[in-house]
Symmetry: C2
Subunit: 368 residues, 2 copies
């Protein structure tokens, strides 16, 4: 089998291939069990030997590429030279689903047979022991960030319609900053932008939050940082209220908690992801809330690894079957325009007969 | 003209289109001067009105997509429904060069005429007033991070072959952490991973650096953070020596400084980027150093905006002509295995008759 990637290592497949962070866009080729990375002088030697990947200095190919007469980009010419050199034209070459279209068009015009393939590395859905270790580490540091947030909220004071911490008005921006600093000290970074939203903002599940944190209203904290070196994400959500929540909000929190428990208790290798979603949805309905356009209006969860969203997918229409070694989020939520949003998110490792909660962190709503 | 994007807003074209950060993968369509973003309930309302982009709730299309019988992904089905609804099949539709290949294959099989286009928004190379303001702001915060690094180095003590700061051994990791924390307090984030390398590591221009900072050896600091909200990058490099540099290293620093000045003095609207590169290369040769496989072994610079590397490109083979409003880096470097690397990088705004240095920061090598 022939497999080719052209991407930088922020791309999860490229990172998975070379098990190294911080490499600019490069070609990666698997041919006859050989794994080759084509790096230029600026980055040659960055891929460690233990990965089984051989680094090839790309400069000699660049010289041939420059002589080509095609009216196309330098990277396309380089691709052409690699296809010639490794006799890839005419043979089926698997590429990621998001392989650059202009390069594909150019290569195909010259006889390449590219097969976009998703998932490109299906084995990524089953986490190895080192990968489980990396994700546990990312989660540990993420819990640390939640600890900081809870501490700030606990040591804040409500004055009228605002909250004050160390005599300054508490904002979403400040909480994010402190959480992010805690993460950075542990080698994590917030690639995708965490959510710390409050009040009406929490009604939009992906509103990242801005401005003053409101007392007596929900504060949704959804933090999903990536480890700078290992590349693995954690994903965790808690919802807090500083002060006294509305009684409906309290009921929503209980309902979301129960839905999470109902779903989690179903999880084991062999169960369908849709069935796990349905367990959460049924629980939400039993608690007297809605599923669909309002209420529980999104999926239940997703795999996490070198991508924040990867296989398997836990939604109503999913065809995925859970397998031992999947690491997935379980994150039911409820959202009502008048009241706000509640979401609780844990990560679990699917095992043969059940699952193991890797997040292991309290789910208190109220911070007095 | 019809233009279509499918990406999240970490993608520079997607961000440019909707002038908003933190939106997950979505479809963006330009048709008859209408600009449409197809967002789901989780993100609906995130794009401000002033952008001229109309948000369309995607859920109704999702319902039609689910009914389609194609054996393909949900996002491909959604693309199909949008192509049907907006009568895009059979018409030329420009898409970014990195448009997902599997989606392109699927749409073309059903009659789409996709034209991968790079640059997708050529106007991005000419920065508007607000964009210049965003980049200046990002640079200001980046200078702040360099201030922190210099302060730590100045207040450190050399003991034998190591450097100590507040009685702890100074490492690349610590300097990165402190620089990153300073950036985060200003709303910046380090998406791509800064370089703080030392000693032998500096010989590899993109080695991101690790372990103890070495006295009397070069410390290359290349910091290129992105502003979380505006999306604009800054890019800046300084090389330091804590202690006493080798005399050849000092000569290299002077040569790089002169090469930068030689190149910068050439910059104006209408000059070819290759000519500016050549001015730096000639200066390096005049100083008695090498250009090519060793010495000055990379390009001179690149445009910076919503991408860290964008048009124009300042290298020997570039065909770009500089235009007023380009914002580019000027970053000559010298690298020798026995001695290490030196790189100095400023950003300049190209004007009609010359250029304006936006970085405006000292270039001292030695920190005693």
């Amino acid at each position: 089998m022939l497999r080719l990637i052209y991407a930088n290592t922020l791309d999860s497949d490229a990172h998975y291939a070379v098990k190294t962070a911080n490499i600019s866009s490069f070609f990666y080729l698997e041919k006859n069990k050989q794994k080759l990375a084509f790096l230029d002088r600026r980055e040659f030697g960055l891929i460690p030997k233990g990965t089984g990947v051989k680094s090839i200095l790309v400069e000699k190919f660049l010289a041939s590429a420059k002589k080509l007469k095609f009216q196309t980009s330098g990277r396309n010419k380089l691709a052409y030279v690699i296809f010639k050199e490794y006799r890839l034209f005419g043979k089926k070459v698997e590429v990621p689903a998001h392989f650059p279209l202009d390069m594909a068009d150019f290569l195909r015009k010259n006889g390449a047979k590219l097969v976009p393939t998703y998932p490109f590395f299906p084995e990524r859905a089953i986490k190895s022991k080192p990968e489980i270790g990396f994700i546990k580490e990312s989660l540990k540091h993420t819990r640390g960030a939640f600890g900081i947030i809870e501490k700030i909220l606990a040591n804040s004071k409500i004055k009228g319609s605002r909250i004050y911490y160390e005599n300054k008005m508490l904002t979403s921006e400040y909480l994010k900053q402190e959480a992010e600093k805690a993460l950075i000290e542990k080698g994590m970074f917030d690639l995708l932008g965490m959510i710390i939203s409050t009040g009406e903002q929490t009604t939009t599940p992906h509103h990242d939050g801005t401005g003053p944190i409101l007392p007596h209203r929900p504060i949704v904290c959804d933090i999903f940082p990536r480890h700078r070196k290992s590349g693995y994400y954690a994903d965790m959500t808690r919802t807090y209220v500083k002060g006294k929540p509305d009684s409906k909000l309290e009921k929503m929190h209980v309902a979301v908690f129960k839905a999470q428990r109902a779903a989690t208790s179903k999880i084991r290798a062999g169960i369908s992801a849709a069935e796990v979603y349905q367990a959460a949805a049924d629980s939400i309905l039993r608690s007297g809330f809605d599923v669909g356009e309002t209420g529980f209006l999104h999926g239940l969860g997703h795999g996490v690894g070198l991508d924040i969203h990867e296989a398997p997918s836990l939604k109503a229409t999913s065809k995925d079957i859970l397998e031992a070694g999947n690491i997935i989020t379980v994150e039911p939520g409820l959202y009502y325009p008048e009241i706000g949003g509640i979401r609780i998110e844990d990560m679990v490792l699917v095992t043969k007969k059940s699952c193991q909660n890797l997040t292991n962190y309290p789910k208190k709503l109220v911070i007095p």
